[in-house]
Symmetry: C2
């Protein structure tokens, strides 16, 4: 079994590549610090991105379900709502069902597992924990819940604070614990190290449970830049440059190797193109990562 | 001001006819005994039917919004949900917004008033009360919440019990009280006397507040039959025949006159065609009712 820690797009694309190679031997642990309760539903952006990618159902816009419509949002707008968080109709169905299952007493792990089965995803998709953990970000205007920072504040830096509220006291789920304990290899996906991978690593005993496996990180940097999202402002806050050395320093003490398109100074590096623009590239990067370990 | 007590289709059609004649001098008090919390939303079938009719937005299927789609329901079905209660996407938007407003502390009266303003409805639409009242129906299989009886049980009679749970202790809202106290006339719409009008009349001091105005009921019977819904089984349970005399007996002590296509024996009756198949007929019946009083 290979365990992949994933946030949104980068981690999800690598997950899709690894699915080609590993099939049901892949377990993804996804960040839930971005979760938000809205429209009577429970939105889990990262587990959903991963699941939709694995199901080949991701839309070209980069999030949500392929060919989804937005009629509920249109309806809410007609009623005078300020729609700052956009959600497609079938995407909403996923999130409404999740909210109902949680209200019925199901664990988030169970709700997400039912969903990946319904979408015929062979790999396991685990939320990082069942307890609510919420990422908050501070900029000069104050503290913001993660989605509000990203959308309403348009990710406006400089970032002056990041908190994963609830993470410290969150328990590892039996599923996450078992996956980490039986993993041949743990891969940290090419997602934002601070706000996508950071919350996962902040959950209770997560780091401690990762100590016995080989851990390899895949750099989210392509030619020294970030393809998507505000990784720049967050790495600046963390005090690390946008280089392989910066990524390695951020994961210091945790990883045994790095996969990146630029050599790191103090850690074994597999230098290879980590851009994953199409299915062939995603599979190639996945194979390189699995071979490296 | 004219106050109309309305359940679903029949009452809503008469409301639409009366809107032509009265404009914003019309106040509709709608049954909320059919309300149901589902899909993270608060569905108020009768206030919505009335509002959608008044906004000329009712769909040809007889409920919900014109040209609505059902993509959220399709999504839920794909996830394995048993969709017994169907709700369109824009209809869901209405009901999600309502649930959110209630969660924010708004009264149902306020939420429904905001909605009718958003849909440019001139007449006032009031829920019968803000307190939760839920109609339950008993048949040989036991007690059922109203929507489950109607949909899952397919309204299977004979009906052996009807309860408006919460009605006795429900308070009149200031809006309902004022409407009744200032009404020139109160019209009981041609909705199911037992389960559509019944819950309204069961709310706290409703009957007492109606004593000072002239009250006229419009029969839901057309040529001795009911056009829509299981009025038959409910009138049978109430012990009244499906005739003008049966309707008059059901409303005995409450009404001063009846509008029906058949003369009642012991109460002043305006005999006229009460079928409301098109806009002209709806207006004609509305004018007849208003003239009769």
């Amino acid at each position: 079994v290979v365990v992949l820690l994933a946030g949104g797009t980068g981690g999800a694309k690598l997950a899709r590549g690894m699915l080609d190679v590993l099939g049901d031997e892949l377990t993804v642990i996804a960040n839930t610090g971005d979760d938000i309760e809205i429209y009577g539903s429970h939105v889990s952006p990262d587990p959903d991105l991963v699941t939709f990618w694995l199901a080949d159902r991701i839309d070209e816009r980069g999030w949500g379900l392929k060919h989804d419509t937005f009629h509920v949002m249109d309806g809410l707008r007609e009623l005078g709502e300020d729609i700052w968080f956009n959600l497609g109709d079938r995407d909403l169905a996923v999130c409404l069902r999740r909210a109902r299952r949680l209200a019925e007493g199901a664990r988030l792990t169970e709700a997400i597992d039912e969903q990946r089965h319904a979408l015929n995803v062979k790999a396991q998709v685990l939320p990082m924990c069942d307890d609510p953990v919420r990422t908050h970000v501070q900029n000069e205007d104050g503290w913001h819940a993660f989605q509000e920072f990203m959308i309403r504040e348009q990710a406006k830096g400089p970032v002056t604070g990041v908190e994963f509220r609830g993470a410290e006291n969150a328990s590892l789920t039996p599923e996450v614990r078992e996956a980490l304990q039986t993993a041949d290899m743990i891969v940290i996906g090419p997602s934002n190290p601070v706000v996508s991978i950071g919350p996962i690593l902040a959950v209770g005993e997560m780091r401690a449970e990762m100590r016995n496996a080989r851990v390899v990180a895949v750099s989210p940097l392509v030619h020294g830049a970030v393809l998507k999202g505000p990784t720049d402002a967050f790495m600046q806050w963390a005090g690390h440059p946008l280089t392989s050395d910066g990524i390695a320093a951020h994961y210091a003490g945790l990883i045994d190797g790095l996969v990146a398109d630029e050599q790191a100074t103090e850690i074994p590096t597999l230098v290879t193109d980590v851009e994953m623009g199409d299915a062939a590239a995603r599979r190639r990067v996945a194979e390189a990562v699995l071979g490296f370990a």
